[in-house]
């Protein structure tokens, strides 16, 4: 069904909002920056720690290699005992590199005796069960005074630990900033999104023709407000211009009525004074008819303006829709009969709406008159009033005429619009504009579609409680 209101688009996803995008951008930037910063700290620290370990090892082995062999075992035990048990290790090898004593079981080929420390996997050199939780070691070896080789090893555990501390710091830091940040962003977004929705609602009312509506402006005076103010200024201007155009139209109609009425009365007087068989009788009558037609258009035009300007709902009473339809049916049945049309009536009892009874009658009359006019002889025009929801009813006039092409359906409510196929029919094309004006005054929702072949115009309205039986 073609609704007259503009089609609703799905709301844009959350991430499209400016705040969300900014936040996401900042999030990515923060992750990269934080990682870089902490990464460099990590790198510097581990470098420094490795250097320190190597210096310690060099220093220690320089000291131990010259210790008297008798004291060496005790010194080495002290060396282990002074630190954490799984921190240091030593090994004693003979000149050929065969193991003599200590937790270090073999010397790797990569290690240069009396050289600088190397880094090595613990399991490659350490006896089983010794240093259980150690992965990597810094290892140094040197000839001691008796010709044997002493190897000392330091774990790299501290370095690894520092690394994991920094990793943790990075992880927690990011979690503590990104999660609340993103959440906060989403929450911050709710406000603007709600305002966009309000603005959208206001805009839809304006698109539907309520030019008096303006976009809502909050007290915050933020960018959305400024934008809304700009749009509102524009709307002021548009409303003023539209008013001017309408005013000019109305003024023309208004001002021309008086001379035309005078012209008509003079012609009428001429006609009255003519003899019955005067050959000009028909001509004058035709002129009077034409003037009546023009005056009719002007009346309709001014009536639309009058209806559009009316904002009050004074004179609204509870109206039984079925009864109104019944009366319209009575009024138009002879007209339909003259065209051998069937004028059907289907009403549900007890439908009561708040309306101006005369205007409601006029609106339905216009719809029926229109349907009868455009339906060929022998066709059907069906009027109905049914409940469509618990609180809503639909008044409908459907015909078996040529219908209204889908692309013309929006335009038919406009003043003076007449469909392509209706050029040969008489009428001023204002009937449906009057219907639209009346519907708008009542907040009725108009819709138009093809129905079963012809045109089907519906008018939906809110219902009252049924009237008490009188």
């Amino acid at each position: 069904m073609d609704n007259v209101s503009p089609s609703r688009r799905e709301p844009s996803p959350h991430w499209r909002a400016t705040t969300s995008r900014l936040l996401l951008g900042y999030g990515v930037f923060f992750v990269i920056w934080g990682t870089l910063l902490l990464g460099s700290i990590y790198w510097e620290t581990t470098q420094y720690l490795a250097l320190r370990t190597d210096r310690d090892l060099t220093h220690q082995i320089d000291h131990l290699r010259h210790v008297d062999r008798a004291h060496l075992a005790a010194m080495l035990d002290d060396y282990i005992a002074l630190e954490d048990t799984s921190y240091n290790a030593w090994g004693l090898f003979d000149a050929q590199g065969h193991w003599i004593n200590g937790d270090i079981a073999r010397l790797p080929p990569a290690l240069k005796i009396d050289g600088s420390p190397i880094r090595i996997e613990a399991r490659d050199i350490i006896r089983q069960q010794a240093l259980p939780n150690v992965d990597q070691l810094h290892l140094i070896a040197a000839h001691i005074d008796d010709g044997n080789v002493l190897a000392l090893a330091h774990t790299t555990g501290v370095t690894a630990h520092v690394g994991s501390i920094i990793k943790h710091a990075l992880w927690w830091g990011l979690s503590f900033t990104l999660v609340p940040g993103l959440l906060g962003g989403l929450i911050l977004n709710i406000g603007p999104r709600r305002r966009i929705r309000q603005i959208k609602a206001a805009t839809q009312a304006i698109v539907r023709g309520d030019l008096r509506k303006r976009l809502p402006i909050s007290k915050r005076d933020d960018e959305v407000d400024r934008l809304a103010m700009i749009v509102n200024d524009m709307l002021d201007q548009i409303e003023r211009l539209m008013g001017e155009v309408k005013g000019v139209c109305d003024n023309i109609a208004h001002d021309l009525r008086t001379p035309l009425t005078r012209l008509r009365s003079q012609l009428y007087r001429v006609q009255q004074q003519m003899r019955e068989n005067d050959p000009h009788q028909a001509l004058v009558e035709c002129c009077v008819g034409d003037i009546d037609d023009v005056l009719g258009r002007f009346r309709a035009l001014l009536r639309i303006s009058e209806l559009e300007d009316r904002r009050r709902r004074e004179g609204f009473v509870a109206v039984d829709l079925g009864e109104t339809l019944q009366h319209v049916h009575e009024l138009y049945a002879p007209l339909a009969e003259d065209k051998q049309q069937v004028l059907e009536l289907h009403i549900e009892p007890g439908l009561v709406a708040q309306a101006d009874p005369d205007l409601l009658f006029e609106a339905i009359s216009n719809l029926v008159a229109n349907a009868i006019k455009f339906t060929p002889n022998g066709g059907t025009v069906a009027m109905s009033a049914v409940r469509v929801a618990s609180e809503r009813a639909r008044i409908e006039v459907a015909d078996s005429g040529p219908g209204i092409p889908a692309e013309e359906r929006h335009a038919i409510w406009q003043r003076f619009y007449r469909g392509e196929g209706s050029r040969e029919t008489t009428g001023h094309g204002l009937g449906l504009s009057i219907v639209a004006a009346i519907a708008k005054l009542h907040d009725f929702e108009l819709s138009i579609d093809g129905g079963e072949g012809g045109a089907r115009i519906g008018m939906e309205c809110a219902l009252n409680a049924p009237l008490p039986p009188t």
């Binding site: 009558e285 009077v288 002879p334």
Partner: protein
């Protein structure tokens, strides 16, 4: 000859009203403003009043209100440039009998005045025009001896025509009085209803009682 008081400040409109009424055999007396109008309206020899609603001195609405408060029941045709529906309702509520929007066709105005003049006749139970008879109590219509079977709308239409025999009734007046509606229903709607009534009233061979008046409306008899 009926006398009509014309309370109208606009020269052209006033002249038009007086002239048109004269052609219908109605004499008219014109005053320019509200206070003079109120004075004149209290004289007993006027049969009807045309009253412009926008007058210098005293506006038409208060004038008609005061008249009614003083117990003067002379029928009043209100004439106003304001087409607003509410304006009309206000006018009728204040005590006016009919309402006409400016600019108006003079014949329409005259037809309305004539209807107002007739309205003062005493209440009847039976209407008779030629051989057409309408019993207002039993709601039975006869032509000659033949009883006409009329639908409710057709009955109301015939009753309205028979109340004002020999007088031009415009389509707008018929639409207002019979259906109680005031909008433009299109020219041929009333014609179709009249045509149906005619078919029932005029049997074959009988002269048509309901006549079409060119450019105006209809007349019975």
């Amino acid at each position: 000859m009926p006398h009509v008081l014309v309370i109208e400040d606009d020269e052209i409109t006033a002249r038009e009203i007086v002239l048109e009424l004269a052609t219908h055999g109605i004499s008219a007396n014109r005053v320019h403003n509200g206070s003079d109008g109120l004075m004149a309206a209290q004289e007993p020899h006027y049969d009807a009043i045309t009253l412009d609603l926008m007058l210098p001195g005293m506006d038409g609405l208060s004038l008609v209100k005061q008249l009614r408060e003083r117990g003067i029941t002379t029928p009043v045709l209100m004439i106003s440039a304001l087409g607003d529906v509410d304006e009309r309702v206000r006018g009728l509520r204040a005590g006016g009998d009919d309402y006409l929007t400016k600019p108006f066709a003079p014949d329409e105005m005259a037809a309305r005045i004539e209807v107002l003049l007739r309205r003062q006749q005493p209440a009847q139970t039976r209407l008779r025009v030629g051989d057409l008879e309408l019993d207002l109590i039993t709601h039975v219509a006869r032509r000659g001896g033949r009883e006409l079977s009329l639908l409710p709308t057709e009955y109301r239409l015939l009753e309205f025509l028979m109340r004002y025999p020999g007088q031009v009734l415009t389509r707008a007046m018929i639409f207002e009085s019979v259906w109680g509606l005031r909008f433009d229903p299109g020219t041929n709607l009333i014609d179709v209803h009249i045509a149906r009534l005619r078919r029932k009233v005029d049997a074959e061979g009988e002269t048509s009682l309901i006549r079409t008046v060119r450019g105006s409306g209809y007349r019975l008899g």
